[in-house]
């Protein structure tokens, strides 16, 4: 039950993007490509979940026992970039060589997203504190991935439906994106304590 509880808590109550404002910039940039938003949402969500699982295993298995925990961010960003590039290469299978290269280039934005580093570092801190269980860490990683997927997909959907011609001139562009993100953060905070609490 704690596994399901961790998934719901990480996906909705403590959503990385809207509740903790981690990785929001990459979400805003990726939402600029509405036709590919679902694909990028899937890529970023999958990479976040994988990064959380592999990152916490790497930290608990190697970095912490060797006393090099402080160096975790530098190791984890390389792991994250490898995960995103690997996932992008798998997703780009079947495309022509030029399209595959373009897909890999575009994967740079998800690769540098702090959402990936956020989940693996948060798991590392939880592992350090000694309060985390394996199923809790796995649940948090998978839940964070689902949360990031929801964030990109929903934000892109809503941002695409906002007709810029109806928005006051001063708010057009980034300001309306930030107001949209703020309202979505408010919506996510509405379920805080409820979603995760259902399985406590």
């Amino acid at each position: 039950m704690s596994f399901i509880n961790a998934i719901f808590t990480a996906a909705l109550d403590n959503n990385l993007v809207f509740t903790q404002v981690i990785g929001l910039l990459s979400v805003i940039v990726l939402a600029g490509r509405p036709t590919e938003a679902l694909r990028y949402a899937g890529l970023l969500g999958l990479a976040t979940a994988t990064s959380g699982v592999l990152g916490s295993a790497l930290y608990a298995g190697f970095l912490a026992p060797w006393g090099t925990g402080y160096f975790a961010p530098a190791v984890l960003v390389v792991l994250n970039a490898a995960i995103v590039c690997g996932a992008a290469a798998v997703m780009a299978r079947g495309l022509s060589a030029a399209e595959r290269l373009e897909a890999l280039r575009r994967a740079t934005i998800p690769a540098v997203s702090s959402a990936l580093l956020g989940v693996s570092l948060a798991n590392a801190v939880a592992a350090d504190a000694g309060t985390a269980t394996v199923e809790g860490l796995m649940g948090t990683a998978i839940g964070s991935g689902i949360g990031v997927f929801l964030a990109v997909a929903l934000f892109s959907l809503i941002r695409n439906r906002v007709d810029d011609t109806l928005v006051p001139r001063a708010l057009r562009g980034l300001p309306i994106s930030l107001v949209t993100a703020s309202l979505m953060a408010l919506a996510f905070s509405g379920v805080a304590g409820i979603a995760g609490g259902m399985f406590a």
Partner: protein, 216 residues
């Protein structure tokens, strides 16, 4: 297929026109540290750390292509960028141990992301020379990170707790506004800053166009 290519090109153009603006630079510099900028002191500290990380990332992205191969450039730059973030985290702990304790993971995360990560991503995206962020953009991003995060921290502290640096602000001290204690409130403050920067940018662009028109 042709339609897909046209749509993809239009989307690329939209993203490019959004990214290469002063408003984006301000937002990209401030957004990662926004969640931690809950008070004036925290905001100023985060802003200073983020500013240093932006300048370091700009230097790194110029140096890395000189010794790393094409494929390794982004991972190497990311790793060095993260090392800078770790060092800045240590520096923050040495300067303000209490604030560092309160900020938790945010200093490292904020320094390794945002404008600094956009600069690293630029290497992988193979942008044209004319489209790259210039030294002026980098300095502007660094200064705006300090100013905007300190201002956001100050406003958040004022509106949520009704006081700044322990000094009560009259009637606000008795009626805190709960939304400013959450990320949605901070995002609204940043949206307000973005509106101001965008309006200034547009009026500046309008004045430049007017001058060019007069010359023509």
């Amino acid at each position: 297929m042709a339609l897909n290519e046209t749509i993809a090109r239009a989307q690329d153009l939209r993203v490019r026109s959004m990214v290469h603006t002063r408003t984006f630079v301000v937002v990209a510099a401030s957004l990662p540290g926004l969640a931690a900028a809950s008070t004036l002191v925290n905001g100023a500290l985060m802003g200073a750390a983020v500013a240093v990380s932006i300048v370091c990332a700009a230097i790194l992205t110029r140096l890395v292509p000189r010794f790393a191969g094409r494929v390794a450039q982004v991972p190497v730059a990311l790793m060095l960028n993260a090392v800078v973030a770790i060092l800045l985290g240590f520096a923050l702990r040495a300067v303000e141990p209490v604030a560092h304790q309160a900020l938790g993971l945010y200093p490292v995360l904020a320094c390794a992301s945002g404008m600094a990560s956009i600069l690293v991503a630029e290497m992988g995206l193979e942008t044209a020379e004319g489209e790259r962020f210039t030294a002026v953009d980098i300095v502007f991003a660094a200064v705006s990170a300090v100013v905007v995060l300190a201002a956001c921290g100050c406003l958040t502290e004022l509106l949520f707790t009704g006081q700044v640096l322990g000094v009560a602000a009259g009637p606000l001290a008795n009626s805190s506004i709960a939304i400013f204690g959450k990320s949605s409130g901070s995002l609204l403050i940043l949206a307000l800053v973005a509106i101001i920067v965008q309006a200034t940018e547009r009026s500046h662009a309008g004045a430049e166009d007017g001058k060019e028109g007069e010359r023509a």
